[in-house]
Symmetry: C2
Subunit: 432 residues, 2 copies
């Protein structure tokens, strides 16, 4: 490495969104490279409400690669981190910062260690695809630090090796993960379909059922499905390809009824192949976790509530989709529908009386305002949705939802140039 | 009709078992004739614990066909009843009873009306395939009354037109419903695979989660699945035929591990295609029925409990299967396994303290005795199953199961010659 006049730390900070699949990824054809058995399509969520911020730093004084997640140091020994670091280093280029008197050549990167600090602006444990945003942000920020001369599509193939769904977080709007054909996975990349402005009427409400519990390990789950389900191959080879074509069309044409039908059906089919797995995978498959059981039931109740409303309206107002995580994602066709959806959600799932409404509905609070809800009293005053015509009084499930996040389709990764947003100290390269 | 010396009532009483499918029937190719889209296999349950008793009577004094179910008169106007009555009358033969001085010719039956009284020795509402036993018993008893000269296989094709699964209740042991090819359904019949003595080590425990609720309408449910699921056709055409062959082999060889694997997988796949339906079908798909939601959760908890135990034993001890009804059916490889299963069930699902154990575990109580359980105190004293190694204490769900029925594979329909068991008064032909 070139002689340096003085000690130095070079840093880059980036912000990357999370995403939610509307055509689901479930099943790998290569466990190590993380290659999917079918294409998938996702919507990127507004980083203003859900994102990962990552600062990566390099310095000749660092004696090992280190990472801190939400302030707590974690190990980088895992194969997925190592794969990402290796692939990025292999593509590093010369970096020169005359002001700081720093000169790093392509080969120097093999011997320089990095520090990584990452922070999610949402509960990591809530299963909101934090690993997707996390690995996307790690790869994106490292690529900028090491001056990697590749576009986000190429970078997505690296992020994919950290977490499959991470590749879709390299772009905003609606994104397709093309499964690809190559053995080395070089063509298994994310491609942007439309940007976040293309369909900006959409409003997304996330019901976080329980942030207490860990995300189910989708890695072992999808392995079991591929090995034991007699339906997954038919889904991957026959069903999904047709849905991908229809979904791309629906997104291009902003055709909400088709979009909703495909989104809900594919979410349900994902859970169907999980159920067809031996042993079956479902939210309540662990008798020792009562919370988990409740979680599953809450989600199913939300589906019932959406199905009933859509049916009564004659045309879909809201699409639902939910992953292996404990959350329901509800995509409304516009603000009006989102407002009515939120009223229904708050009617069925009011917060505990001691909950502050401000912490119960977070994100874009203007939806709450449109719904005419200022405080808990307004929630308790909500009338039953008109579509409920049951003899039995409508059920309420107070306190069984942790909180709601109101958001929308959002942009892809960005660099944060304002040093004050860095998570590492520019002098020491350690967490602030 | 021949001159009669005096007024008369001619009666027949029969008893028919219920059955539980181990390879599921879900989906019709003909709604009116009730023709399935795949073969199915069931085990007949011991009528000593679960059966329908039906008395049919004929008299020149009856001015219309009438039926009483569990003492309450019900309408015979429904197409399914009419189909069964029409098909049986079309096959009636001469009947002569010299002692009573009765002579009925083939053609008389078209003008004679019948009275039917039917009684289930288990809660009709509990979804224990009461319609299967009911229609099987109706057809069987009418056939005997009208001296129909056809074997149970032919009769099964008539019972099938009342309720699809009813055709499998015409035989004991393990029974296959062959879907058939003919448009008129003449070859869509039940065939006995092995009788109830072939595999008599099996012990069957039924967990009745809630006898309060009605069975989900499987007719509309399976119609929706056939019309909207993109997996059901693959299941019916590709998956089930292979499973039928394997299952017949497993039953012939009393190969419990294979039997259990197929039974559990097919139950889960049945629920998977229900989930793949638009709108999705699952236990908790109606937000207004809290009980229904709990029901689903209880069943999933039972699966988790069985899966965990089977896994810890290395080889399956118990197979689970559950239908659209609210009950779990657990088939144990032998008495020992059934005893250990019952202990686990009672540990996780103890009755409410005010419940009498005698009404909480019914049927073959010797299993309870083998489990060393005399009263509620013994239930509360049950230790957690050794396979539970969770940090969190094992969950208990007191009072969330209505009761358990211990039974076994059983015989097919029989005539009850003892007049005291008749449900109709031999003089009046009205319910006793």
């Amino acid at each position: 490495m070139a002689e340096q006049s003085k000690k130095w730390v070079l840093m880059v900070t980036a912000q990357t969104p999370t995403n939610i699949a509307v055509i689901k990824y479930w099943g790998k054809r290569d466990e190590n490279l993380i290659l999917a058995i079918n294409d998938s399509i996702s919507v990127t969520l507004d980083p203003a409400h859900l994102c990962t911020t990552t600062t990566v730093a390099v310095s000749p004084d660092f004696d090992q690669d280190r990472m801190w997640l939400n302030g707590k140091e974690i190990s980088l020994a895992g194969g997925r981190y190592q794969n990402c670091l290796r692939e990025i280093r292999a593509r590093a280029s010369d970096v020169e910062d005359e002001k700081k008197g720093i000169k790093i050549t392509k080969n120097d990167w093999q011997n320089l260690h990095v520090h990584v600090a990452s922070y999610n602006n949402f509960p990591t444990a809530a299963g909101l695809a934090s690993s997707a945003a996390g690995f996307a942000c790690l790869v994106f920020s490292l690529a900028k630090l090491m001056n990697v001369q590749e576009d986000n599509g190429r970078l997505s193939a690296i992020a994919r090796q950290g977490s499959g769904s991470a590749c879709r977080s390299l772009f905003g709007g609606f994104v397709k993960w093309v499964m690809g054909k190559e053995e080395d996975g070089s063509d298994s990349i994310a491609v942007p379909l439309v940007d976040e402005k293309h369909w900006d009427e959409l409003v997304i409400i996330i019901a976080v059922v329980s942030s207490r519990q860990k995300e189910t390990s989708s890695t072992s789950g999808m392995r079991d499905t591929v090995e034991t389900s007699s339906l997954i191959e038919h889904r991957a080879k026959e069903v999904v390809p047709k849905r991908i074509i229809k979904m791309e069309e629906a997104i291009q044409n902003r055709d909400f009824p088709t979009f909703a039908q495909l989104t809900c059906s594919d979410s349900n089919q994902f859970h169907a192949v999980c159920m067809d797995t031996t042993p079956p995978i479902f939210y309540m498959n662990d008798t020792s976790h009562r919370q988990k059981v409740l979680t599953g039931c809450q989600l199913f109740r939300i589906i019932g509530c959406v199905e009933k409303w859509n049916c009564s309206e004659g045309t879909p107002q809201v699409a639902y989709t939910f992953d292996a995580g404990p959350n329901a994602v509800l995509i409304s066709r516009n603000r009006k529908a989102a407002t009515l959806m939120l009223q229904r959600l708050l009617f069925h799932f009011p917060p505990n009386s001691d909950t502050d409404l401000n912490s119960y509905v977070i994100g874009d609070k203007s939806i709450l305002k449109d719904a005419g809800i200022q405080d808990i009293k307004d929630v308790d005053a909500l009338p039953p949705p008109p579509e409920i015509k049951d003899k039995i009084p409508a059920q309420k499930y107070r306190g069984e939802i942790s909180y709601f996040i109101c958001t929308r389709p959002g942009r892809g990764p960005v660099l944060l140039t304002d040093e004050s947003q860095a998570l590492l100290n520019p002098e020491t390269g350690l967490p602030k």
